[in-house]
Amino acid sequence: MTEELDAGIVARQIAESGELGEPARNRHEVGAARRRKEDARLVTGRTRWTDNIQLPGMLYVAFLRSPMAHARVTRVDASPALHRPGVVAAFTGRDLAGEQGSLPCAWPVTEDIVVPAHPPMAVDEVRYAGEAVACVVATDRYRAYDALESIEIDYEPLPAVVDMNAALEDDAPRVHEEGNRAYVWKFGTGDIDAAFRDAPVVVERTFVQQRLIPTAMEPRAVVAQTDGDSFTLHSSTQVPHILRIMLATVTGIPEHKLRVIAPDVGGGFGSKLQVTAEEVLLLLLARRLGKPVKWTESRSEGNLTVHHGRDQIQRLSLAAEADGRLRGLRVDLLADMGAYLMLITPGIPILGAFMFNGIYKMDAYDFTCTGVFTTKMPTDAYRGAGRPEATFAIERLMDELAAELGLDPIEVRRRNWITRDEFPYTTVANMTYDSGDYEAATRKALALFGYDKLRAEQSERRDRRDPVQLGIGVSTYTEMCGLAPSRVLGSLSYGAGGWEYAAVRMLPTGKVEAVTGVSPHGQGHETAWSQIVADALGVPFEDVAVVHGDTAIAHKGMDTYGSRSLAVGGVALVRACDKVREKARHVAAHMLEASAEDIEFSEGTFRVRGTEAGTTIQEIALAVFGAHDLPDGVEASLDSDATFDPDDFSFPHGTHLCAVEVDTETGATSIRSYVAVDDIGKVINPLIVEGQVHGGIAQGIAQALFEEAVYDSEGNLLTTTMADYLLPSAADLPDFVTARTETPATGNPLGVKGVGEAGTIASTPAVVNAVVDALRPYGVRDVPMPCTPERVWRAIQGGAS
């Protein structure tokens, strides 16, 4: 027993298992189902998570957090905590007011957007439950937490603002002096009035995207230290590069004196795409105390203070012809910002603005988004970020339209989608979809699912009035990923570009270090990047190490989010490899006494065209290191780097089908089968793709059926533990049937599109469509998410909702 549990043994078993490193067929690494080389150390914990870092003299930080959603801080005194055992220092927001600055918002989507000051620790007013008001620094974590109790603080309660509609009323209590409307962002094309005028069919629905709490396996943790001159910050972040720039700006520590390290990071899903109060404050504490400081959140603390996701009210109307062809779509969104605008809070719903039309053709589109302040935890990126919300809306609407017209939901889609020969196609939202084949993906999905057979069973159950009804849900999604072309980001007022960086270092022994500017936190980049380098340079997969996440070593990058790492960062890597090869070719020509034009490269060897004479890239690396005999004008280095900025987004798509059984007596739902056919372009590693799809679907199902962050009317978060905030586990999910079609992206040399968010984006509407489909005979037209048993049961009792 103990032997089985020993981490070292498990690591060795994984490393030695025959399946690891499935040999690449045809000597091509790209496309091989390599087991992930980073997993052995990650799953056994034999790695460096931020919380594992112990430094001499380290101190531990605990935060006192507001128990109230909205209140004026009338008095606060942290000094009593100083008398508690082990306490070294204690500060309130007021103590640090002069130096703590304001947490940044990098995406002011309109010119007149309200961006309120956001002190890392509240000074005069708290605006959400969980906001930090004071902190204690002690010799251990337990003493720090114990001492929080002795901080004296008085609050004068102010009214909570919880509901977005109420928040926008004239006499609503204000979250900020400037009012509760953060911004109004509009976008439209075509003649929307004409589209709706005399439209034979108009489907109007309001859907609510409930608030979600991103639940990364590794809680956030921060370690800050200084040598008196420069600073190092370890953080469980997915954006070390962005963080460095932002922290330098907020704290005034010059950028070149600040090193940010994201060691191994255990998941993020967008929640670690942030500049957090704790990161700023730990730097300030290290500066004040001259000692290393650490903070690791507890899960409950995390539920309160990790930025939340989704939370939109979507008012939608869709105009169509009698045969189901779409005319136009109106989208009126209320997006809950929470109490402050964090790094890209306002931009999240805007990322969805270009996706509400989905894969369909229509003449006109009108989009309005109102960002609303409430006294809740701020929202920000969460897996899919704006696109799941948009996809949900259009895919639910398509099913509603089908029901209204008495058509099969697949048929309605077929009548509207962009056909394979219409690509590249510029949509009503002004996006140019480069490639895709919706027919092929759908055909494959229908066959794998046994669509006709399930429909037959459904009607048989309906006829029999079976207490267990069957529903079938469809989602033919697309998404924009590979964030992002810098010019588009610029036109949307985003504060940075969307390029990516890579460097390749040829070591003297022929091994390779691939430096990447993306910041993996569970995705498997070390494996996929190694495969790319192995093919590009003809070196063994095992000979590549991938270096990332440390601004002193991988100094440049835009990090990992928005399914961008491969589609942008992978391409930068290919370009850097191209440069290494080109440099090596000149050295090879010199070594082989031929002209560079006559040198061919294949599988790691440079040969003189038409001869057997050749030299390997490893030999060249050693020769360059020695530098005894280099051609004139050639530097003693093969190392190269490259930056890639995509011309456009990439557009993965696919067809997901879900069959749900609904127990009409209790309202319980159970997913009977789930088929996902995704088209993500070229695949570097099918095993990694599979993992991303599985996890993504699970997360999307979780939104459909399980997860919801609930605040009461006073603004208290009720779902602070995992007993209340329900996450499904493998036991609650069906086996997923996954398959792919492959239409290469045309916008990048790898032909890849991105897969990180596809499953999440596709699955939520597939599941809810299935639940509603099961209940149509009961007059049910919608079930709010998550479709809990009670909600389903009430929908059946109440009919149309």
Binding site: D146, S300, T721, A723, S729, A731, D732, T788, W793, R794
Partner: protein
Amino acid sequence: MIPASFDYVRASSVDEAVEVLADAGEEAKVLSGGQSLLPLLRLRLAYPSVLVDVGRLPELRGVRDEGGHVHIGATTTHDEIIRSPVVRAGCPLVALATATVADPAVRHRGTFGGSMAHADPAGDLPAVAVALDMEFVLRSTTGERVVTATDFFTDYLETALEPGEILTAVRVPKLGEGWGYHYEKFHRTAQAWAIVGVAAAVRVTVSESGARHVAEARVGLTNMGPTPLRATAVESAAVDAELPPVPHATANGSPSTARLPSANGSGPHDTLREAASLADGDTSPTADLHATPDYRRHLARVLTHRALTHAAATV
């Protein structure tokens, strides 16, 4: 979260445990598997000054067949219960309900006695205790006493245990031949607590013609009030109810994890359904994030019918 500081005593015998408890008074807490107590400490919902760990005392651990009843030591883990041939033979309902508790990790640490002493109305085992009329053996420095299940569970998270007293064992009376059992748990995820649960034991008589009737029934309800409840109205109304013919190959004695009824699970056995419809009488379910009281009442009726039907079908 992080617990406040406390002292920790690992008792080497029950006598030592009760002595430490007697000295420490109300400030002390017994620690068994820690699966309920540690979360309370971490959320700082409990501030004991000393924890007396009884979890490793051999005298409190294990299952014995004592003739008329099964003796279950307080610190026997859920996992041991599920695997115990004595439990499976003598009181299968206990094994069925225990198998629905949480997940394997929790079941390897959490204990039978801890579950009872914690007295969470959403816990699965207290309802079984009242349905089967278990007896609770309590020890303190002043001696031993035995209380019935209905007397043991006094209120929400409260029991007849006095400060200084520990639960040493539970006696589960054997019901004998002709009984079928089922625990019907309704929860949102496999690891979640019951929204409502129903523990049912049914004695079935089979007439010469092969007709099957309920001779006797016992029904315990999980999470329908501050304490586990016995649905006595259902029990009397169910007597003599006609049962459908045994469907072939049901759960073959293994705990049912199916969340949905079988496709034709609702035949016209009306007396049983009418009896089950009394299940929410005399209950006082609460509202929480997962369900309203109305919905819980509705579930109690539906699930009681299912539990009785499944239990009878195993005979």
